[in-house]
Amino acid sequence: MKVMAAPPETAILQVDDLSVCFETSRGSVQAVSGVSFAMAKGEVYALVGESGCGKSTTALAVMRLVPPPGRIRRGHIRLGDEDLLALSDEAMADVRGRRLAMIFQNPLVSLNPVYRAGSQIEEAISLDSVPRPVAWRRAIEVLGRVRIGDPAERALRYPHELSGGMRQRVMTGMMISRTPDLLIADEPTTALDVTIQARILDLLMDLCSHSGMALLIITHDLGIVAEIADRVGVMYAGSLVEQAPVYELYEDPLHPYTRMLMRALPRLGKGQGRLETIPGSVPDLIALPAGCAFHPRCPERLAICASQTPVSRVVGGGRTVACHRGEVDR
């Protein structure tokens, strides 16, 4: 029996065969190639992978905010029963305001430099026709929840008067001030210290378990993934090579890339063994190798890997993997 990663009837987000490219003077950059995944209500799904593998581009496609010269070449994206790629720009803007929200990798991008931190949150809250004074009070409350010290005073500051970490927390506050159906958080804690990071992660998880908000978290930090994800998608060179519930991914990774990544993590003490390294380097997304994009670096490659692109197959237990190994014997 085939087990779907998340049954479509409960899926809040469903991405099918998404491909995004950037047309540059050097050629067409295949940033995202045929990515499919689904998320259930209240679920925390982590998209992981090394720098440049297409995580942010995937998220931006869901928001329909891929910047030029990028364009969505193929695929479907559904949020609940809404077909996002078929919506008019106005309708999409409305969805972004109400049902979808994103914490961007660079928080200055989405904080408006000419408005005070508190006003930006107040704005978001008053979208629900909450009266201004109430919205302001709630904005200050939200700043406190994202661990900003002295929130009443900080609410009056402009973005450039705040540190990078604080801007990131203001962004987080803005996004959680009205609970969206889906929150996309792109590296939401990179500029933060671990103790503050832990607070923000707690807060996000709390929202998911209490309000049913789904969280798509994007990170290259496999510690954060271990800490909060329900399921994980591993990307390599624009493709989703493996998806699994978090425990299975850490304990029994199936894709050779995931396996190597897991063994590259420093989990022991000094003198208790060397870390695994992955030979070679990531491919140029303009000239992706034929077959499996990982084959030039893969110690387990077969003859077929150099010519045929492996398709993602469901292997049971809510897992998918795109690798020729095991296609016959599993």
């Binding site: 661990r147 671990v194 103790t195 271990a226 800490e227 850490y250 590259a264 060397r274």
Partner: protein, 342 residues
């Protein structure tokens, strides 16, 4: 300590020793342009780094790690206390002698760009320390080749510019530059924070094998507790400009003595989803200012275990067990454990 001026310190001396070292940065813009206020970036730190060990230094942003590291080669002069390298007081060393001492240390920063000149080929940056020592021509080239071999860089990168190298290659080049004069001590300030997991693994392996091959001593600064544990023999934990705990790496992870160490360990994701429900120690609020740090123990406004004495007296760094130091009034009463279960 009168021996500090001895010309040749016995080898039993620690390679690096800080005695109540302080670094206060004055803040300008007072009423009459006077600066009566200071950022107490390093505030009375005493510690040693032994020959051949890796001393890991952790602590949150702004706790003074980089400032402490810059005191050792004398890139910053201490505002008080002493910094001794191989028994010699750095602040009293000048000119040629200081130069000779510095030659025995290398530094690698988080951002490789800061040690590689963007406008010259990588060869020039790697060779630069040799130029400064007057080593030229064939001999210089021989040592460049020998060193890039040590860090597993191919010769083809030497003629490229830094931007034509990957992040991992850039960091290898900075390591090559740091070790080309055969130093004893290498200061590594967040050397892998900007790198991906697989590249990070390559650099950490490289650093460990270099240490074995040429018996280097490392001061390894990071905020990543998994990395510091993997790399270090001993770990020092900084909070608000002070060293609050020093312990062998495994002991520190198994049983931290200081509440701040316990909080840091609890907050650091352990790379294992089964440890999600571990017992945790949480701190309230944000770190206070370094300009007017709280009286007594710097942690007391946030510490779940604080009692009256904590806000009155500064706990000294005391020997708590073999090779273990801690600065907390209550360490003996507390049994802190950040581990599975709970």
């Amino acid at each position: 300590m009168p021996m500090a001026t001895a010309p040749q310190a016995p080898p039993s001396w620690p390679l690096v020793r800080l005695d109540s070292a302080r670094k206060y940065f004055p803040i300008r813009g007072g009423l009459f342009g006077h600066s009566a206020r200071y950022v107490r970036a390093v505030n009375n730190v005493s510690m040693t780094i032994e020959r051949g060990e890796t001393f890991g230094l952790v602590g949150e942003s702004g706790s003074g790690k980089t400032t402490l590291a810059r005191l050792i080669p004398g890139l910053l002069r201490p505002s008080g206390g002493r910094v001794l390298y191989d028994g010699r007081d750095i602040a009293r060393t000048h000119g040629g002698e200081l130069n000779r001492l510095r030659r025995r240390m290398g530094i690698v920063f988080q951002d490789p760009a800061s040690s590689l000149n963007p406008r010259s080929p990588v060869r020039a940056s790697i060779r630069r320390p040799l130029d400064l020592q007057g080593v030229r021509g064939r001999e210089a080239e021989r040592r460049v080749l020998e060193t890039i071999d040590r860090v597993n860089l191919g010769r083809e990168v030497l003629d490229r510019y830094p931007h034509q190298l990957s992040g991992g290659q850039q960091q290898r080049a900075s390591i090559a530059r740091a070790i080309i004069l055969n130093p004893e001590l290498v200061i590594l300030d967040e050397p892998t924070s900007a790198l991906d997991v697989s590249i990070q693994a390559q650099i950490l392996n490289l650093l460990q094998s270099l240490q074995e091959q040429i018996r280097l001593t490392y001061l390894f600064i990071t905020h990543n507790l998994s990395i510091v544990r993997y790399m270090s023999d001993r770990i020092g934990v900084m909070y608000l400009g002070k060293l609050v705990e020093v312990a062998p790496a495994e002991a520190l992870h198994d049983r931290p003595f200081h509440p701040y160490t316990a909080a840091l360990l609890s907050a650091s994701p352990p790379l294992n989803p089964r440890l999600r429900d571990r017992k945790r120690y949480r701190l309230e609020g944000d770190p206070p200012s370094l300009i007017s740090p709280p009286p007594g123990c710097g942690l007391h406004p946030r510490c779940p275990f604080a009692v009256e004495v904590c806000s009155e007296r500064t706990p000294p760094l005391v020997e708590a067990a073999a090779r273990r130091l801690v600065a907390c009034h209550r360490w003996e009463e507390l049994t802190l454990k950040v581990g599975p279960g709970a």
